[in-house]
């Protein structure tokens, strides 16, 4: 999808993140609408994007319902989407949303970017070994700001003209030209080993289609579970990916309010080395915080991005890994410069 114009409803956290990187978009942004109670959010969006308090995309605009849109809210106020559906305008949304909203048809499509011709060979089990470095973007938990980091990485590699295949953990990544992970892998259709095989074939397809010098892979979900009552699917994707390919290095996003003493980071280092057979090259201190909901055991993930006054200084630990604020572009560039240098000098495992 390129040079088309998209409009968003509703304005969600991931759209706000995406709009901080408009230079990466492969589409034009038209109208952005949201619920009345959230209209204050619209004021934050940059000037170069048209904002209309009463969401009214023009006829040519594709209506995008972001994957992180709360389904309960959509069901309470589905009018803009149902109207677009009635008018048979092109709508991009997740399968989950489409089912809940009860919309289907040839004008309804998924938000995704897949390689041209890919079909999963169920009985083919041999795993392809990637001849280029693979950098994984992981997070301790779901919603700990990986999307922002992946966009920053894309910006870096684009700026440095390094031919990189990006596979984004967030389907909105498709709007900035990144490949996405097929939605069918998020359900129970495939067993663990089938998912490993599927993803290996899928990524090798991307590799042969693009012949990149490097692969950056965003891993959905998290590697630990903070919540007592939720299990984040037992970090399934992280485990699947650790079998799909060998990561040469990874970044691990931490919540801003997570403890990060040397003792804790050392323990994480060992955990990552044993479980995922990889070292953490970069700890990303995200602007997301995990807030315990009142006295319960549940957490809510909140983004303090525009409230961060003091950035986490970019430092290198004695162990070699970096700690960097994911809102600090200069810090990220500095770490990636080092990583690329070390890659060329062959110092790091990359």
């Amino acid at each position: 999808m390129s040079n088309e114009t998209v409009s968003f409803f509703p304005l969600t956290h991931d759209i706000e993140t995406l709009l901080d990187f408009t230079e990466l978009l492969t589409v034009q942004v038209g109208d952005i609408g949201t619920y009345k109670e959230d209209s204050k959010k619209l004021r934050r969006i940059t000037d170069n994007i048209r904002i209309n308090k009463n969401y009214a995309p023009n006829e040519k605009e594709i209506v995008v319902v972001p994957p992180d849109a709360d389904i309960e809210k959509l069901l309470r106020y589905p009018i803009p989407i149902l109207k677009a559906h009635e008018e048979e305008r092109q709508i991009l949304l997740s399968q989950r949303h489409a089912v809940k909203l009860g919309i289907s048809g040839s004008h309804v499509k998924k938000i995704e970017k897949l390689p041209e011709s890919f079909t999963f060979q169920k009985d083919y089990r041999k795993l392809f070994e990637f001849p280029v470095p693979v950098f994984g973007v992981l997070g301790t938990e779901e919603s700990c700001g990986k999307f922002r980091l992946q966009l920053s990485l894309k910006k870096y590699f684009d700026d440095h003209s390094i031919k990189t295949a990006f596979v984004c953990s967030n389907h909105l990544g498709a709007l900035s030209g990144m490949y996405t992970i097929p939605e069918e892998l998020f359900g129970n259709t495939y067993t663990f080993s089938e998912k490993v095989s599927y993803l290996n074939q899928y990524l090798s397809n991307i590799y042969f289609e693009m012949k990149p010098d490097m692969i950056v892979l965003g891993v959905p979900g998290g590697v630990f579970s903070l919540q007592d009552n939720e299990n984040d699917y037992y970090s399934e994707f992280a485990h699947v990916f650790s079998h799909v390919l060998k990561f040469d290095a990874v970044s691990l996003n931490l919540f801003r309010n997570e403890e990060r003493t040397d003792e804790i980071l050392d323990a994480i280092d060992s955990y990552m080395a044993y479980i995922f057979t990889t070292s953490v090259y970069m700890y990303g201190v995200s602007s997301m915080i995990a807030k315990r909901i009142n006295d319960s055991d549940e957490y809510e993930m909140l983004d303090t991005h525009s409230y961060v006054t003091e950035k986490q200084p970019c430092v290198r630990r004695e162990t070699g890994s970096w700690i960097v604020d994911t809102g600090d572009m200069r810090g990220i560039y500095c770490v990636l410069d080092h990583m690329v240098d070390e890659m060329q000098d062959g110092i790091h495992s990359l």
Partner: protein, 467 residues
């Protein structure tokens, strides 16, 4: 600074040590108990002692790592007040048609306002609602409470607020709450409230004799029990399903005949199917009764039955709702301890919620307070106004109330179980002082020690939380 923070305690059935580093306790021998007591009193050095080494080797009693006492939410306050206000309560009137003796507005409490004819204007209510919507962008739900005095005296204002909010909110779930004395409930008001999904809480202290002791009409001094029951019966006939969602709150006072009250809530055919909450009368209520002993005998007897039910000796059916509800926090503390969570360098005791964020109370004049229980006449608790917005420094002081006793908290064995919020601290000056807060520390010592004993004894008798 103490190197190891622990508390030895004993029951008839055994000796224990509470280990703050793991927020748990475990059984020890009598000899070890004496050693830990000596260590606690400073008569023995931890470095010389073998008992300590034994537990250190087993992974207990990690060294005290607490360097600062600071609330973990302090760094994100600006964000929270700007975008994450959870619940707003509107004081729609300061007036009430009852004059309950123990009411915090009855004039018998220090530092509390009294009833007055002041009402909230529509302009103020609208501003408050707009203020809340603008400051709750990241909150999942919109939750609005109506409070008084008696809020149903201002029913028309409530109606306007409801329609305004429903018109302004498209995506989020909306919840309305009201706390009422139940005397002004009519079919019309009830049907409006149930149509708009109100959570209704009626104050009812028990059977007629007990309820009418305190809850009387302002106009003629008569008890309000009959009026409330008539209203409930009338609504039950007309709205048999909707009325089931109504909840009741009973305030327990020392002179009440608790046995009668419990009987009433357990068996009364009109009330017993409803959710009942029990709360203790506000501290500061002075009752001149010699019935207090009897009240506590009955209450403790009920508690004993509850413990017997937990260890499977009697059926939970024989335990009053009062005991089950008021003792729920013992089990909650137990489950918190079961997690064996690690400590961090920066900690704060439990208790304070984020003032103005978890709850925001707006008075008839548009002043902002953390909740309806805080004093409206002590400026310390006024955290802003609709005109000037939030006063962040004041919110921070209240949130970070642990700073008042930071040196004590760093070494205090109760740090992870203690629960003190600013509202509980009685003080005279402009801001609470360390000595004011330490009165609450003494109370915490008593409560937490009691909880530990209860949990230990329950374990001794084979209480199994999983069943």
């Amino acid at each position: 600074m103490k190197k190891y923070v622990f508390k030895p305690f004993r029951t008839y059935g055994g000796c224990y040590i509470y280990d703050r580093s793991l927020n748990t306790f475990f059984r020890i021998s009598k000899e070890e108990f004496l050693t830990f007591q000596s260590l606690e009193k400073g008569k023995l050095k931890s470095s010389d002692d073998l008992t300590i080494s034994k537990y250190l080797l087993a992974g207990y009693l990690t060294e005290n790592c607490v360097k600062c006492i600071e609330h973990p939410d302090k760094s994100y306050l600006q964000y929270y007040v700007d975008r994450y206000v959870q619940y707003m309560t509107l004081q729609v009137t300061q007036n009430c048609n009852l004059r309950c003796e123990y009411c915090i507005y009855s004039g018998t409490y220090e530092n509390q306002r009294t009833h007055s004819p002041k009402r909230m204007s529509w302009e103020t209510a609208k501003k408050a609602l707009q203020f809340y919507l603008a400051h709750s962008i990241d909150s999942k739900k919109i939750m609005i409470g109506f409070y008084g005095g008696e809020p149903l005296l201002e029913f028309e204002l409530i109606r306007k607020c409801v329609s305004f909010v429903e018109n302004e909110v498209q995506g989020k779930e909306i919840e309305f709450h009201i706390t009422t004395n139940g005397t002004l409930l009519t079919k019309e008001k009830f049907s409006f409230m149930s149509e708009h999904g109100f959570h209704i809480l009626i104050s009812l202290d028990g059977n007629k004799d007990e309820h009418d002791k305190h809850r009387r009409f302002a106009s003629n001094g008569e008890g309000s029990f009959d009026t409330i029951m008539q209203n409930i019966k009338m609504l039950q006939e007309k709205y048999p399903e909707e009325i089931k969602k109504v909840q009741f709150n009973a305030v327990m006072t020392p002179e009440m005949d608790l046995a009668c009250v419990m009987d009433f809530f357990d068996v009364d055919e009109v009330i017993s199917d409803h959710y009942i909450m029990f709360s203790d009368v506000a501290t500061g209520f002075k009752s001149d009764t010699d019935e207090e002993d009897r009240f506590w005998t009955v209450r403790n007897y009920e508690y004993l039955k509850y413990y017997l039910a937990l260890i499977g000796k009697i059926s939970m059916d024989h335990v009053s709702l009062m005991a089950q509800k008021t003792l729920a926090n013992v089990l909650e503390i137990r489950s918190r301890m079961m997690k064996h969570s690690q400590m961090t360098e920066c900690m704060h005791h439990n208790g304070p919620c984020i003032p103005g964020v978890r709850r925001l109370f707006v008075t008839v004049d548009g002043d902002l307070f953390p909740c309806q229980n805080t004093s409206e006449i002590q400026d310390y608790f006024r955290i802003g106004s609709l005109k000037e917005g939030f006063l962040l420094d004041k919110i921070e002081h209240m949130l970070n109330i642990g700073a008042l006793t930071k040196d004590e908290c760093r070494d205090c064995w109760k740090l992870r179980l203690c629960s003190i919020c600013a509202q509980q601290i009685e003080f005279k000056g402009v801001v609470p002082q360390k000595a004011d807060k330490q009165k609450q520390c003494t109370l915490q010592e008593r409560i937490i020690t009691q909880y530990l004993h209860i949990i230990a004894v329950l374990n001794e008798f084979g209480y199994d939380a999983m069943n």
